[in-house]
Amino acid sequence: MRDGAGLGLAVGLYGAAFGAAADAAGLNLWQTVSLSALMFTGASQFALVGVLGAGGSALAAVGSALLLGTRNTVYGVRLVPLLQPRGAFRRIGLAHWTIDETTAMSLAAPNRALGKLAFLVTGASIYLMWNAMTVVGSLGAAALGGTARAALDAVVPAAFLALLWPRLRSTFPEAAVQRRVAVGGAVVALALTPFVPAGVQVIAAVVAVALAGRPRDVDRPTAAEEMA
């Protein structure tokens, strides 16, 4: 329960930060709200507005959002035994809430019934909180002056760093390899910036995944462990 409240607060703040970042990138309120309601996966939303804000093309923006969205596919695979969605309609509904937080909460539950409940409760509360705070952030940012804009400009990269940080901590599986890939991605992106259209360097940074090397012959960690 305490986990849930802490999660709700963090998600609310992220939602407001996203709304503000989207406004700074030139999206209007309806476009911003549509992203939170329809895309509903934070890192991809941040990536989309981040690339657009940097002057990138729509194609580059969508491409980086999709690349970050691939991890939700893996979450879905892990959730099938737990949710056991019967019929196309259940699947279509449950898919929309298949994100980092719902996966972590439901896989951490002690049994299948509680896991399913955790998925639905976490999904519903995050969906409401995320969308409401997106509106607050978007409207709030529109009212800002020059110095507050500079503050907001500095908040956006910090928010990306906060998304990245848990993957670099020593408790994360293969943290050293994650760090190597992260440094590689940043170097590739900066090196390409003067030579490619804005946004393309972000997608090109995916080549840094090659630094991870071959798959290891070890048991794969669960999503719950990854998120801990």
Binding site: G26, Q31, S34, M39, F40, T41, A43, G50, V51, L52, A54, A58, A65, L66, L67, L68, G69, T70, R71, N72, T73, V74, G76, V77, L79, V80, R91, A95, T98, T147, A150, A151, D153, A154, V155, V156, P157, A158, A159, F160, A162, L163, L164, W165, R167, Q178, V183, G184, G185, A186, V187, L190, F195, Q201, V202, A205, V207, A208, V209, A212
Partner: protein, 105 residues
């Protein structure tokens, strides 16, 4: 960018991200759980998020620039290393960015 192009990005990106979620609940697990696929998916977020950190903090169009955003990022990294709560990280980064903006003006 025109409003139409922004809407196209919003809707196409949303549809694509939804289909990626739906695919996980729909395709046979063996397709996704091949070692190479799993390996790539495990590390794509690190590469992309780090690229976004770098681009958002240190570039403007096609130029590499140093301004308040980099100061904000450094402060954020320090706060994260000290396990500060998320809101504190963002507030400190914003304050650092605003301070540099005021001092440089």
């Amino acid at each position: 960018m025109s409003g139409t192009a922004l809407w196209a990005a919003v809707l196409a990106g949303s549809l694509g991200c939804y289909l990626l979620k739906l695919a996980g609940l729909s395709v046979p697990a063996a397709w996704v759980e091949q070692p190479w696929v799993a390996r790539v998916v495990d590390f794509v977020p690190a590469a992309l998020l780090a690229a976004l950190v770098a681009v958002q903090a240190a570039t403007s169009g096609q130029d590499l620039v140093v301004d308040g955003r980099l100061a904000g990022l450094a402060v954020a990294a320090l706060a994260l290393a000290l396990r500060a709560p998320f809101i504190v990280v963002l507030v400190l980064a914003g304050a650092a960015g605003a301070l540099v903006h005021v001092l440089a003006a």
